[in-house]
């Protein structure tokens, strides 16, 4: 009876493929996994956003207007709202020239969690402490 940490690596850019979206939706599904597990068991996703995946974190996305689909921004806000830990690679943000003020914030939805900007070395430590890793 325990809760396991599960690593999610989001490394694909938004909207080029379905991949990044699936990473977030799979992570968010941790909310209902306990209905298939025994009492006391659970999954705690650690979502690490690296490489081109950091582009998913830009605020002001217009996916519904342009593609008719839910935006990555909406998925990330929902992930923060359900208390997921989302770590964004500091070096990759810098590489794309993305500053913290351009990132998604779910405070307006009442989320306590925020995107956590951390160095790649920290992300490696986080992933080293997970039981399994899923790369999207």
């Amino acid at each position: 009876m325990s809760v396991i940490d599960l690593g999610f690596i989001i490394q694909r850019p938004p909207y080029k493929s379905e991949t990044a979206t699936l990473g977030f939706t799979h992570a968010i599904s941790y909310q209902v996994v306990d209905i298939l597990l025994d009492d006391g068991q659970g999954v705690n996703p650690k979502v690490c956003i690296v490489g081109e995946g950091v582009l998913c974190c830009l605020s002001g996305q217009k996916a519904m207007e342009n593609y008719g689909v839910t935006s990555l921004e909406s998925h990330i806000k929902n992930a923060l709202l359900v208390d997921l830990d989302l770590y964004v690679c500091k070096e990759d943000l810098e590489r794309f020239g993305i500053t913290e003020d351009k990132l998604i914030d779910a405070e307006d939805m009442g989320a306590d969690k925020k995107l956590q900007i951390v160095p790649l070395g920290e992300i490696q430590k986080i992933l080293n402490n997970t039981k399994h890793i899923l790369a999207f």
């Binding site: 396991i4 599960l6 694909r12 493929s17 379905e18 991949t19 699936l22 939706t25 799979h26 599904s29 941790y30 909310q31 209902v32 996994v33 209905i35 298939l36 597990l37 068991q41 659970g42 999954v43 399994h132 890793i133 899923l134 790369a135 999207f136």
Partner: protein
């Protein structure tokens, strides 16, 4: 023996990843391991019955039925399938339909996980 959960997101046609996934699952179950197979995104095409085996394309239905007979649990993402026009009424019998938490629950109880992305 252990429990292996494989997640596959690749399409049957246009990629060899799904073909590889099925053969990996067969190799593992033949060695006595318990295998769970989660199919999401374009991999949901695998659950559709009446696939025609054309020699220029990978063919899955025969392998899926064989894996089911060997006790492999196969489940596909219902939303992914429906979005692609695949209906439950045309699914291969024995393939489960569920949502992403099925995959996480199987991972919880697995010794090893192989996650094969679509792109």
């Amino acid at each position: 023996m252990g429990t292996l959960t494989i997640g596959c997101f690749a399409s049957l046609v246009g990629s060899k990843s799904l073909d590889f996934t099925l053969k990996l699952a067969k190799a593992a179950v033949d060695k006595g391991h318990h295998v769970n197979l989660w199919l999401s995104s374009n991999a949901t095409i695998i659950g559709k019955a009446h696939q025609k085996h054309l020699k220029d394309y990978s063919h899955a239905e025969k392998y899926v039925r064989e894996l089911l007979e060997k006790g492999v649990e196969i489940c596909e993402c219902e939303a992914c399938a429906l979005a692609r026009g695949i209906q439950k009424t045309e699914a291969i019998e024995g393939v489960q339909w569920s949502a992403m938490h099925w995959y996480l629950a199987k991972i919880y109880n697995s010794d090893r996980v192989v996650h094969i992305g679509g792109e």
